[in-house]
């Protein structure tokens, strides 16, 4: 089959590799119909994530048709499914508490050593996202092997387009969980750093959960425009002093809840960020954390901090004093996708959330490397690239502005 493989910083290629097979009884093989490039794939593309190996197949947002099932899979051939990016067994202590991304068993035993040393305990495995998270082949390919297929994939009813449901795999539940972690109360003002896909979905989710106002912070005009479309007020941090603006816009109180949907590759023009960049490039530290610092300082006293943004390593100059003195609460974590899928599928069916607005480009799988470059170089116009293995190269459509 053809698959998008990683070869190093800014070097991804579409290559021919062996087709996947049923290896374990609970496996299923899915023929991919749609697969997206995620903002966190850019962390791999930029070489920020350790334990990648040449030839790794990327992709953790995907869906398709069931073509083969193991004896213990509950899926049936021909079903259309969306696959969660977290690989969870469904039977360990954490899965029984619906903490799917903390699954004890999804990560192969040998790979768990890496996370044990870094994080104290191994996390669940993820598709196509380094060997620390399992080393599983991802879904930017024609076919993918899905382990624990009786627990993860959700069957999509007929009549719903791929484009509507694809984001159940990661970014829609991630945006929803971000808003849920912000413990939003009716009347709240919520500030969201980063209007990428997760930020935009957390804005929609925050309003559905009863937020009175959402203030969206970014520097890409097109992304701020999308945030405005969902009812958010906006701050362009290239033109505006973010902390000052937030304080003025909230009458000196600060937002009740703050959401960092920027993460490891925060772009900011500030001294601490420049120091972070120097440290990152000299391997003194892996994470650049301007957004979370600003969010903690801006958050109102006794407020809530939600951090869906991906961090991988250690940071310094974390404003622990402000965090403690103001009595803030922080909730974070990889998304427990399986927990949120059924409810969010219903929300899509009932038109409560808009998902298709996000897709700016549809490309054939063969042009995946172009998709990565485009997404990386032009984050204003390119909000989401969806790869379609069946799309003929000539018939590629590019839709600007959703």
């Amino acid at each position: 089959m053809r698959a998008l493989t990683w070869h190093g910083k800014h070097d991804v290629r579409v290559e021919t590799v062996d087709d996947p097979e049923i290896v374990n009884p609970r496996d299923a093989i899915i023929k991919i119909t749609s697969t997206a490039i995620c903002g966190s794939d850019l962390h791999l593309y930029d070489g920020y994530i350790p334990t990648m190996q040449r030839g790794d197949i990327l992709g953790h947002e995907f869906m398709g048709e069931v073509v083969e099932t193991g004896p213990k899979s509950t899926l049936k051939k021909g079903q259309r499914v969306v696959v969660p990016f977290t690989i969870s067994c469904g039977s360990c202590f954490h899965c029984s508490k619906h903490q799917y991304s903390a699954c004890d068993n999804g990560n192969p035993a040998d790979n768990q050593d890496i996370a044990m040393e870094l994080y104290g305990q191994p996390m669940s495995a993820l598709f196509g996202y380094s060997h620390m998270t399992g080393g599983y082949a991802g879904g930017q390919a024609e076919y993918v092997r899905v382990p624990f297929s009786d627990i993860g994939p959700i069957v999509i009813p007929e009549g719903l387009d791929d484009d509507k449901v694809l984001f159940l795999s990661d970014i829609l539940p991630t945006g929803w969980q971000a808003a849920e972690n912000a413990a939003i109360e009716p009347g709240d003002t919520v500030a969201v750093w980063g209007c990428g896909p997760v930020g935009l979905f957390s804005i929609q989710s925050a309003f559905l959960m009863g937020a009175e106002r959402v203030i969206a912070i970014d520097h890409f005009p097109h992304r701020l425009e999308l945030a405005r479309k969902f009812g958010a007020e906006t701050i362009n941090f290239e033109q505006t002093k973010t902390y000052e603006a937030l304080m003025e816009m909230t009458g000196g109180i600060g937002p009740d809840a703050v959401i960092d949907a920027v993460g490891l590759e925060a772009h900011g023009f500030f001294v601490d960020n420049v120091i972070d960049q120097i440290k990152a490039s000299t391997f003194l530290g892996t994470d650049r954390i301007h957004a979370i610092r600003q969010a903690i300082v801006a958050c109102r006293k006794g407020g809530r901090v939600s951090m869906p943004a991906v961090y991988g390593g250690v940071v310094d100059k974390f404003p622990l004093g402000a965090f403690m003195e103001k009595g803030l609460t922080l909730k974070t974590g990889q998304t427990h996708v399986q927990h949120y899928m059924p409810g969010l599928l219903n929300a899509i069916i009932e038109d409560k959330v808009d998902t298709t607005f996000l897709i700016s480009h549809r490309l054939p799988l063969e042009q995946a490397p172009d998709g990565y470059k485009m997404f990386h170089d032009n984050q204003n116009e390119v909000t989401k690239v969806v790869l379609k293995p069946d799309l003929a190269v000539a018939a590629q459509e590019e839709i600007q502005d959703g």
Binding site: C92, N105, P108, A109
Partner: protein, 197 residues
């Protein structure tokens, strides 16, 4: 609690976590018949009933399903078994093991007999995890590394070092018991065979 805990120390932590290098003497004293001077201890919690885990383990022919280095375990009689285990450099090592202590649903202790390639002894303890969360399985193993420190380093290079193996084997045991299968990132059956080789 159990006799593998440090009576000299001022805390309740297992001996295998001691900073004190002579902790192994106390651990070996707690074992029925100590063989060797290198101590491994590792505990894993498994979300299954104690009796079920004990029964699976007690049938030693099952162990090859999750212990990657076992080539074969042959049952000789109700106390004796013959073990063939992979070693670095494509070699194998063999020994006869004798059950030295056994309590149904709680403990299996063993020691290798005198002409073992790698003298070893140990015990597997099964305890109910508090709060109805399943079973704590603790492996305590004492062994003599072949060729001393150098042998241990070579084994580590080949990822056949017993401490690394014990921790990974226990994780695989947990996966098999909880999920019904052992997680692998292999994309094809060939890849899986290569990983196991």
């Amino acid at each position: 609690m159990s006799e593998t805990h440090n009576r000299e120390a001022t805390d309740d932590a297992p001996l295998s976590t001691s900073k004190n290098s002579d902790a192994v003497d106390e651990a070996t004293a707690a074992l029925v018949e100590p063989k060797g001077d290198t101590l491994i201890g590792r505990t894993v919690t498994i979300n299954r009933p104690r009796a079920e885990l004990y029964a699976y383990w007690r049938d030693f022919t099952n162990l090859a399903s999750f212990m990657d280095n076992i080539v074969s375990v042959e049952i000789l009689d109700d106390r004796r078994s013959h073990w063939v285990v992979k070693a670095p450099g494509g070699k194998t090592v063999e020994w006869d093991a004798v059950i030295t202590d056994e309590r149904e649903g709680e403990t299996i202790a063993w020691a290798s007999d005198d002409d073992a390639d790698v003298p070893n002894s140990g015990r597997i303890d099964f305890r109910d995890e508090p709060g109805g969360r399943g079973t704590q399985v603790t492996a305590t193993i004492v062994y003599d590394p072949p060729a001393g420190i150098v042998g241990k380093l070579i084994a580590k290079m080949f990822q056949r070092e017993p401490a690394i193996q014990a921790r990974r084997d226990l994780r695989r045991f947990k996966q098999l018991m909880e999920a019904g299968e052992i997680a692998t990132a292999a994309r094809t059956r060939n890849q899986l065979e290569e990983e196991k080789a």
